[in-house]
């Protein structure tokens, strides 16, 4: 077991200024930490933040929420100190023009979108391009965690997210800005949500992957019992734990219980497959935290 080094702002890290990376600054030929976080000296000398706000960068994939109209843009909340803008041209089809009075017919306040950060200028004006192939619908689940924990949810070479998807049969989309979109059977979505919240809360501890595996395994075991009983079964909720908050988009859409298990499993699995190219997620399997 190896101890990772926690550093605080101002800690001296190295004289090898050529390798100074994120979370550090150079002064008088020395590299110092400017963040409170974990020191990572493998290639570059970096400090991985344990907290802090999400700051959008070009190319990031984010999940945003429409909060206002400012023709010809929608104003989008991206869980950052900075709001982003989505131009009507991004949403319009070929040759179509969207008028100011009809913007809400395409995207209305509180609608959720999956987008890519198209540009960020020096004064932090952020523009998005819409990823039209993804539609977040009422009935889907959305969780928001600190963006600093996202690499931990992905895991080394995508191992953690792979385990979550395979064992739950859910579609899980991880955005760089700390928002996670989940689709699937309601009980599976509940387990995945709890697992994600646990990872986020315990990101800095050891044995986490095991604990998550065990949590998912309990779920699978329960589902086997349900199959045997041939009934919808009673969903067991972990008692008395601070589950934290996570959101259900809307109230009416629920997976119909009469749908056969194997059918829904296959359906979510194929969605998983198309998704597991972790390039979508932005960082694709960055290790630790």
């Amino acid at each position: 077991m190896e101890m990772y080094k926690i550093v605080v702002p101002g800690d001296f890290l190295s004289r090898d200024v050529k390798r100074a990376g994120e979370g550090t600054y150079v002064e008088d030929g020395c590299v110092y930490a400017h963040l409170y976080g974990i020191l990572d000296e493998k290639d570059e000398i970096k400090v991985v933040a344990l907290s802090g706000k999400y700051v959008p960068r070009r190319g990031d994939v984010v999940i945003g929420r429409i909060v206002d109209f400012s023709f010809p843009y929608w104003v989008v909340d991206i869980a950052s100190p900075y709001k982003a803008l989505l131009h009507v041209a991004e949403v319009a089809e070929e040759g179509e023009r969207i008028e100011m009075s009809r913007m809400h017919e395409y995207l209305d306040i509180d609608d959720l979108i999956v987008a890519k950060v198209k540009s960020v200028d020096a004064s932090m004006r952020v523009e998005l391009s819409l990823m039209k192939e993804f539609r977040v619908r009422r009935g889907d689940r959305l969780i928001e965690i600190s963006h600093t924990k996202i690499p931990r949810i992905i895991g080394r070479h995508g191992s953690m997210i792979k385990m979550l998807k395979e064992r739950s049969g859910c579609f899980i989309f991880i955005a760089k800005n700390g928002r996670i979109w989940i689709k699937g059977r309601e009980d599976a979505v509940d387990v995945v949500s709890e697992a994600i919240l646990m990872i986020a809360n315990e990101a800095h501890t050891s044995g986490l992957t095991d604990r998550v595996a065990r949590m998912l395994d309990t779920f699978r075991f329960q589902r086997r019992i349900f199959r045997k009983q041939g009934a919808a079964g009673v969903k067991e909720r972990t008692e008395g734990r601070e589950v934290g908050g996570y959101g259900s988009v809307g109230s009416d859409m629920r997976e119909s219980e009469s749908k056969s298990e194997s059918e829904s499993e296959n359906e979510s699995k194929s969605e998983c497959e198309s998704e597991s190219g972790s390039g979508r997620v932005g960082e694709g399997g960055e290790r630790l935290v």
Partner: protein, 255 residues
């Protein structure tokens, strides 16, 4: 402020038994509030303060935004029950001045250029006061800023020194502050030997000030270690190598 006939030093010891260069006991807890982005609870003797940081966050109205960097807003406030005679809620002139010099003590280390057009809000509430609250507040705020993930060149550390019964002493308590000859709160960047706050209230000679500053520096070095330790202690759990746990979870899958 200075009362005649009150003996503050007896037989080389201060009225609370401390030596001239002795700090009051310090206790630091990081991340004590749920809603704040970063927080720190700090005790210095009988002082109890809590600092919280929100931000960077959106700043309104727009006309006070800075297009190139974050602005820092610092609010020092005393709870009505924090002092002997109940203090009316709300900022008074003393709190306003303390807020200003405290902000000026911290701002030099904060890398505000990372967050144009935003504000980083620092709030310090004094829950119990025994002189030295502004220094406790700055120490707590430094830690809270780090806890919030704000990029900084360094931590800032603060302590007060002064003159009591002709002697240069460290970290004055309320009695010494009220009846002594001078009180000098300082804030500095320990590693770089730079001063970011310095105020003097009372009367001291140049040599006395030099001696006091030396004393302050030594104390700040100690306090800085405590600030660092508190931050590191928050995440003191061992972090297992991902490789090891990957192997184990692979075995789970086979089963």
């Amino acid at each position: 402020m200075k009362k005649k006939g009150v003996q503050l030093i007896k037989d080389g010891r201060r009225i609370d038994g401390r030596a001239f260069d002795e700090l009051r006991p310090i206790r630091i807890e990081v991340g004590v509030l749920k809603r704040a982005d970063g927080s720190c609870y700090f005790e210095l003797g009988e002082n109890k303060v809590i600092a919280a940081v929100y931000g960077p966050r959106e700043l309104h109205p727009r006309h006070i935004q800075d297009a190139k960097r974050a602005i820092i807003q610092y609010r020092y406030n005393m709870a009505p029950f924090s002092v002997d005679e109940r203090k009316r809620p709300g900022p008074d002139r003393r709190s306003i001045e303390i807020s200003k010099v405290s902000r000026e003590a911290l701002e030099p280390v904060i890398m505000t250029e990372f967050y144009p057009r935003t504000t980083i809000d620092v709030f310090v509430e004094v829950l119990q006061s025994d002189a030295g609250t502004r220094t406790a507040g700055i120490n707590a705020a430094s830690v809270a800023l780090a806890d919030a993930g704000i990029p900084m060149r360094d931590l800032v550390t603060s302590v007060a020194v002064g003159k009591v019964d002709g002697e240069i002493v460290l970290d004055l308590n309320a009695y010494e502050d009220n009846y002594g000859e001078a009180d000098m709160p300082i804030a500095m960047i320990v590693r770089k030997n730079k001063i970011t706050m310095m105020q003097m209230d009372g009367k001291m000679t140049k040599d006395e000030i030099k001696k006091a500053l030396k004393l302050a520096k030594k104390a700040c070095e100690k306090i800085y270690q405590l600030q660092r330790e508190a931050l590191i202690a928050k995440y003191s759990e061992e972090i297992e190598r991902e490789e090891q746990s990957d192997e184990q979870s692979a075995q789970w899958l086979k089963v």
